[in-house]
């Protein structure tokens, strides 16, 4: 509510107006479409003149300041939606300024969804599943008092968190065949993503397990539970609700990091975005389409994640 109070102070609104005016005057809006709308006031030959710059910036900054002042009057949710719509509109304006060919996008989008998104999702889901298994093993090993297990686990997390994921993709795809294990692009990509994210998630799982009070261990052990039984029946059921939200975050991050496996020729979304438009010199069309698809996917997942989080917070 800080903004609402600020916007009700006249000096602040005047300062805002002045700031926009100076900015727009310096940028010089007199050559844009907006200046054409003001042609009656400026005169048609005024382009570039100080007068034209002055008139356009006075008007435009007034419109912007009025808009902000009006949004300030709205309720929180209405503010949110309005800001979203304005930002989306500005983005559309930005994208259309590339003069995109929508027929070309239309002709390719189905293939991008059926081949690209499907492969991206497939790689991400398989990788996050394997990564979760690695993370449980890694976390248990890191927490154990066994020096071997701890050494292996900490080496694993240090190595795979310490190298760029792109390099891991190359090392696995190009390195393993040199050792005699010929590996396809898709399994190589999945392996790289699983190992890397498994290392990150080991830390998430370890923190989740460690956050369960020591008394739970002691109570279970004093009844005669062995380590594995305590973990399975007492500790993990309490730790998993804590682990799931950050794991969801990791999944959304992985969805986008899976674009890195495009470098080894997996036909996922990023690969298609780079290649489909090449022949016709329509790079921007495909890149922007893929960007939108990634964004939509992430939003859907974020929505799903917030639902899961709410469910576990209740439970």
């Amino acid at each position: 509510m800080q903004e609402a109070r600020l916007l009700s102070k006249t000096p602040f609104v005047v300062a805002l107006y002045a700031a926009f005016f100076v900015l727009l005057f310096l940028v010089d809006m007199s050559g844009t479409g907006f200046a054409e709308l003001l042609a009656p006031a400026i005169g048609s030959d005024g382009e570039g003149s100080v007068y034209a710059r002055f008139v356009t910036s006075v008007t435009l900054s007034a419109i912007i300041t009025l808009g902000i002042w009006l949004i300030g009057k709205l309720q929180f949710n209405a503010q949110r939606v309005t800001v979203w719509l304005i930002m989306a509109g500005l983005f559309m304006l930005f994208f259309t300024s590339f003069d995109l060919s929508f027929e070309f996008i239309q002709s390719k989008i189905w293939f991008m969804v059926s081949q690209g998104i499907l492969t991206t999702l497939y790689i991400s889901v398989v990788s996050i599943s394997i990564a979760s298994v690695l993370a449980i093993i890694g976390a248990v090993a890191k927490l154990s008092s066994n020096g071997f297990a701890n050494g292996l686990a900490s080496f694993y997390t240090s190595f795979f968190r310490g190298l760029p994921l792109l390099m891991q993709v190359y090392l696995i795809y190009l390195g393993l065949p040199q050792l005699g294990f010929v590996i396809d692009a898709v399994p190589a990509g999945i392996l790289a993503l699983s190992l890397c994210y498994g290392a990150y998630m080991t830390e998430i799982f370890r923190a989740g397990i460690e956050s369960i009070p020591k008394g739970q261990w002691e109570a279970a052990r004093s009844i005669g539970f062995k380590f594995g039984l305590t973990m399975r029946r007492i500790i993990l059921p309490q730790a998993i609700p804590l682990i799931i939200p950050p794991t969801g975050n990791q999944f959304i991050a992985m969805l986008k990091d899976s674009s890195l496996v495009s470098v080894i020729g997996v036909w996922e979304l990023m690969f298609l975005a780079r290649t489909l438009g090449q022949k016709d010199f329509k790079h921007m069309e495909m890149l922007i389409t893929a960007a939108m698809l990634y964004w939509i996917l992430s939003m859907v997942l974020e929505y799903a994640q917030s639902h899961i989080e709410r469910r576990y917070r209740k439970g």
């Binding site: 109570a219 004093s222 009844i223 539970f225 059921p237």
Partner: protein, 261 residues
């Protein structure tokens, strides 16, 4: 609480050499890094004995009973529980633990399980008791601690005193040969204390072997066969409750009693 003195019972158990001890600590020492927290502890517990352990905080009393089910490891000396010598590389510590019940200051119920499931967990998953029978067992002991109606609630829905009684029932479901109590009433609101103490008194009257770290002196007077006073990691005085409270031998005991009574 009526204070029945039973010094003669204690004397009897103390002189009976034929009874085999259930717990024996011989010259037990323990260090936390440089801190010498248990110093040459010697203690023998015979079946059926009720022992109250008291002393200022940091005196090692909790550490001592936690060594008996090896939640803490001792570094020298010998601890024997029901003929099993506890040591670093031993197999089957879980079996020993399943025969030694433990009640904690902070209850430590499993929050994701119902009260009945808390009680059934040990019998089912450690002893392999079928579910139906485990449930009957759980209800039996929940009745004994007088909260059978709470069986299907979760620990978070119960008061502290009720939770502690569930914790006692959970231990009893394992049919332990010995119960360890680590300040069971210290975390409770005052009005909750008597419910837990009554449960412990019932248990004592049924002949359960008990080692209780507690400052509840009424409880000590009523049920204890022996009171052990610890300070700075040592057992300073061991006495019958009557003698301990009315006629303590050691200066440190007198000082401690003057502070708490």
């Amino acid at each position: 609480m009526n204070s029945v003195h039973k010094p003669d019972v204690a004397v009897e158990t103390a002189v009976k050499p034929a009874v085999k001890p259930i717990v024996e600590l011989k010259d037990v020492n323990k260090w936390y890094d440089d801190f010498h927290c248990l110093k040459d502890i010697n203690l023998t517990v015979t079946p059926g004995e009720r022992i109250v352990i008291c002393g200022p905080s940091g005196s090692g009393k909790s550490t001592m009973i936690r060594c008996i089910n090896r939640l803490e490891a001792h570094q020298s000396g010998e601890i024997i529980v029901d003929d099993v010598v506890l040591h670093e590389h031993m197999q089957g510590i879980d079996k020993v633990r399943s025969e030694v019940g433990m009640v904690f200051q902070s209850f430590n119920l499993f929050p994701h399980m119902t009260i009945a499931e808390n009680c059934m967990a040990g019998p089912m998953w450690v002893q392999g008791v079928p579910k139906g029978e485990a449930r009957r067992l759980a209800m039996k002991y929940l009745e004994q601690v007088r909260i059978p109606e709470q069986a299907d609630k979760y620990p978070g829905q119960l008061s502290g005193g009720q939770q502690q009684r569930v914790a006692i029932a959970r231990s009893l479901c394992m049919k332990p040969k010995l119960m360890l109590f680590d300040e069971p009433t210290s975390a409770l609101d005052p009005e909750m204390v008597s419910g837990v103490l009554d449960t412990m008194i019932d248990l004592a009257k049924e002949g359960m072997t008990m080692l209780c770290v507690t400052h509840e002196m009424g409880f000590a007077r009523e049920v204890a066969d022996r009171v052990i006073f610890m300070a700075d990691g040592e057992i300073v005085e061991e006495n019958t409750p009557g003698e301990f409270f009315d006629n303590p031998r050691e200066a440190r005991t007198q000082q401690f009693l003057s502070q708490i009574l």
